[in-house]
Amino acid sequence: MTRAPMLRLALLALALWLVPGCKDETKAGGAPASGSAAEKGKPAAADVPYAKQVSTSLEEAGLKPSAAFEQAAARPYEAKACARGEIDKLDVLVCDYDAEPAAEAGEKKLEQFVSGAVSGAIRRVGTRVLAVADRNKVDPTGAAINKVVKAFAGGK
């Protein structure tokens, strides 16, 4: 009986923590995925929005986003930057981290993105983590999810 108020308090604390995450979305807009390229003075990484970079890299891996990727909140996943879009009607979130240990920890954080979906998968390649979720039950055998994660793992 005493659990409910405690849970509410915990959720309130979580929500207060999340609010800056919402602000973070605007702040992190256009963050380059690769710092090294920006340092070298290459305009591509710095000028191209992060979401566009993610979309391009997924296309290079053989995936065709069915909805444009957009910048997403990164703080809930403790990432440097995140972009969210759709591939084959699957909800896809790609996040980049500063280092591999952070990305490894980020895999666990991205479970909350998959939460609520019937099926989903999370894969990490270096400092980039991809989470794919089937929220609309469009992939009853997991074939589309498998295609996305395999292309991501082999494509980057």
Binding site: L18, V19, C22, A117, N146
Partner: protein, 265 residues
């Protein structure tokens, strides 16, 4: 402004929404059957993945680092799935780390799995079936108790099984039939896939194990694809039955009583 509204909505959803958001995260690894009502056939996601549901038949899974791993025969769930035929017990190599044997398939007789064995494990392909001819681990018999439900499950379920028409290869360790007893095992010659049939008038194979007790013989009990085991008393145990492994020189005699008439396919 829109973002502030979105934040407020998220706040509200968190406060009034489900308190245990992680309850719908169930970890799986490798393909597995989809439960009825959620999907059909097998889930084809390779590697680790997440679902919102638990296995419909937990007996067919082992838990590996918090993930459900399917160790059963996929035929029941997706008859047309690409699969490989096995006979007898063997390591569950697709679940274990390379070089380690922690899980075992205790499905007696012929069955299918989704994976072909890796070259580093001692499997022999004979008659279109993989036979494990390597040494069983020390815990092989002990853990059978743990996995017995899987074996019992496949003893009861009626599904298409590989047809085995050859004698086991050298080094194969089959099911222990009993000590000093006599086992009558009916098989048949044929090809392709066969649904568990009635007792066939095909080959009648008698296996004599002199001087080591009796387990089989008596009333027939349907057991596996086309195999009728006559059980008289005592629980079945597992030990060398074919070949010349383990204790003592077993004399295995195959006696063919008649040719297949072609009706039982």
């Amino acid at each position: 402004m829109a973002k502030h509204v979105a934040c407020v909505v998220v706040l509200w959803a968190l406060l009034v929404g489900p308190t245990d958001a992680r309850a719908d995260i169930v970890h799986y690894i490798h393909p597995h059957p989809m439960p009825p009502g959620v999907g059909q056939g097998m889930c084809h996601i390779e590697g680790p993945h997440i679902h919102s549901f638990r296995p419909a038949k937990p007996v067919l899974y082992v838990e590996v680092e918090g993930q459900y791993a399917f160790i059963g025969d996929p035929t029941e769930f997706e008859p047309k799935a690409r699969k490989y035929a096995y006979y007898g017990h063997h390591p569950v190599f697709w679940v274990d780390a390379p070089g380690e044997v922690e899980h075992y398939c205790y499905i007696t007789g012929p069955h299918y799995h989704l994976y072909a064995p890796p070259p580093e494990l001692k499997f022999t392909a004979k008659g279109g079936v993989y036979w494990y001819v390597g040494a069983h681990p020390g815990w092989y018999r002990k853990r059978y108790k743990k996995y017995r439900p899987v074996d019992r499950y496949y003893a009861s379920v009626r599904i298409a099984r590989p047809v085995v028409t050859v004698e086991p290869p050298e080094g194969f360790v089959g099911v222990y039939i009993g000590a000093g007893g006599r086992a009558r095992v009916h098989g048949h010659v044929g090809g392709g896939v066969h649904i568990v049939p009635p007792p066939p008038p095909g080959i009648d194979v008698n296996i004599h194990l002199p001087g080591v007790g009796v387990v089989f013989g008596g009333a027939p009990v349907p057991h596996r694809r086309g195999v009728i085991v006559h059980k008289r008393r005592g629980p079945p145990r597992h030990a060398p039955a074919w070949g010349h492994r383990g204790r003592g020189p077993y004399k295995v005699k195959y006696k063919v009583k008649g040719k297949r008439k072609g009706k039982w396919k």
